[in-house]
């Protein structure tokens, strides 16, 4: 279990939030723009756009949710409360499509809009919720729920909670407690379930209670080749690296090959590939003892740093690849 604190832990949400009905409605602003600016959500959405490539359907849904909460706030100010909307969500998609990343951002956005009080994320999997013996599960699940209150409970690979092959499985007990809290303590926490698409579908089929309590099912598509490249550039940029022209071409080839291999994990595979390329670059530079390195050299990833990857397999034997690959190739 990991807990990620809210960025602005100390910030008092009453300052931006507060859904109390004002005495004199003429004094409060019902301009959505003003409220948006006030909450700082606009910037959050902008950084979301800037820092995360693609994910159009996800971003659209987040904007919709932000709009709903915003309007709900305005409505409350003129006494039109409909009660807090249900915001439990499910994130489905393949590995490395950004589910965890978005969940963290979501918590921040919900916090800014005053929907969750603290805005931290508690990320758990089955082992954090389900016990080993009779009487162990309920306290374990409750403990996690208590920690998540005021923020977001993120349950990764949620389908492991339900093991139909074992009718005495304690997962069911955990699910029932979750259901209760999701229903009765909506304003205390938001539950986000995440996992692969088909398995989540099956999980929801066998647990209609959970499905019906989830208002937002958000699907994370696989990234296209262009998006993966853009993600790579973004990551390199953040780490202050650049690709040489040849390295860029090598990376395109790399991604194409890597994508067709099993255990491809979208953006995570890209991050891992870049980490390994950094390793090879460092190795290559260290091998040049006795020479001054330029800032440029320290920044640049060359084609050989990428082509040395196992993904290229025999293709390294190809003439043009072999040339690029001549320098360092860890055996």
């Amino acid at each position: 279990m990991t807990t990620v604190p809210a960025k602005d832990d100390q910030e008092d949400i009453e300052a931006t939030g507060g859904s109390g009905i004002a005495d004199d409605p003429s004094e409060i602003s019902l301009d959505p723009g003003a409220v948006l600016a006030d909450s700082g959500v606009e910037e959050l959405l902008a950084t979301l756009d800037a820092e995360l490539v693609g994910l159009a359907p996800v971003k659209t849904r987040i904007r919709e949710i932000a709009a709903l909460l915003l309007v709900e706030k305005l409505r409350a100010q003129v006494g039109l409360s409909a009660g807090p909307p249900s915001l439990h969500m499910s994130f489905t998609g393949n590995p490395g499509t950004g589910k965890t990343t978005i969940a963290m951002r979501m918590a921040e956005i919900l916090h800014r809009l005053g929907y969750v009080r603290k805005g931290h994320v508690v990320a758990v999997t089955r082992d954090d919720l389900v016990g080993q013996y009779i009487g162990h599960t309920a306290p374990k699940t409750r403990e996690v729920l208590k920690k998540a209150m005021g923020g977001v409970l993120f349950i990764d690979e949620a389908y492991y909670l339900y093991r139909p092959e074992n009718e005495r499985d304690y997962g069911q007990e955990s699910i029932e407690i979750l259901l209760q809290v999701m229903e009765n303590q909506r304003d205390d926490l938001v539950v986000i379930l995440a996992g692969y698409h088909d398995r989540m579908d099956r999980f929801f089929e066998s647990n209609p209670g959970i499905r019906s309590r989830i208002a937002h099912h958000i699907d994370f598509p696989d990234y296209t080749l262009d998006e993966l490249l853009a993600i790579a550039r973004l990551m390199l940029d953040q780490m202050h690296y650049r690709l040489s022209v040849e390295a860029e071409a090598a990376l395109v080839e790399y991604i194409e090959l890597r994508r067709s291999q099993p255990s491809f994990a979208n953006a995570r595979s890209i991050r891992n590939a870049l980490d390994r390329a950094r390793l090879r670059q460092a190795n290559r530079l260290v091998a040049r003892r006795g020479q001054e390195l330029t800032r440029e050299e320290l920044m640049t990833i060359e084609a050989q740093d990428i082509r040395a990857s196992r993904v290229f397999g025999e293709e390294v034997q190809e003439p043009e690849a072999a040339v690029d690959d001549s320098a360092v190739r860890p055996s």
């Binding site: 603290k118 306290p139 920690k147 205390d188």
Partner: protein
């Protein structure tokens, strides 16, 4: 006779909102909260029964409030208190402890005299409530 043990006990009973505010304060200080109960009101009875485990790493009072609600439902006629524990090295003790539930009727204490050697007398107090066995004392 109204038992006065712990912080705030000379004030009127705290409302739930006031309890929540105290808990928020404690959490902001980084203290761990726990809930305890007893039906033995003797002032020297400082170790009450634990209601569940102490709660570490909470961010929000809602979790503790839920625990208090569940303790009240289980022991409506017991004394229930909330403790805030500071685990800072060198402190490692309670910072705050206050009663959040008490029996509707608190019968008070009898003064007990014990004749000791040499015609001296020892005094002590004994709660009327503890004349009955544990669990049957109030309500």
């Amino acid at each position: 006779m109204r038992i006065t043990q712990g912080t705030f006990s000379f004030l009127p009973d705290l409302t739930d909102d006031q309890i929540r505010a105290q808990i928020e304060y404690s959490l902001a200080q980084g203290w761990a909260l726990s809930v305890e109960y007893t039906d033995d009101p003797h002032p020297r009875n400082t170790y009450w029964e634990m209601f569940g485990m102490p709660m570490f790493d909470l961010r929000d009072a809602a979790g503790v409030m839920a625990e208090i609600a569940s303790a009240r439902a289980t022991f409506p006629d017991h004394y229930i208190k909330v403790n805030a524990f500071d685990s800072t090295h060198g402190v490692e003790s309670l910072r705050l402890s206050f009663i959040v539930n008490r029996p509707e009727r608190e019968p008070g204490f009898a003064l007990v005299r014990e004749e000791a050697a040499g015609r001296s007398i020892r005094y002590t107090v004994r709660s009327y409530a503890v004349d009955r066995p544990e669990g049957e004392r109030y309500g």
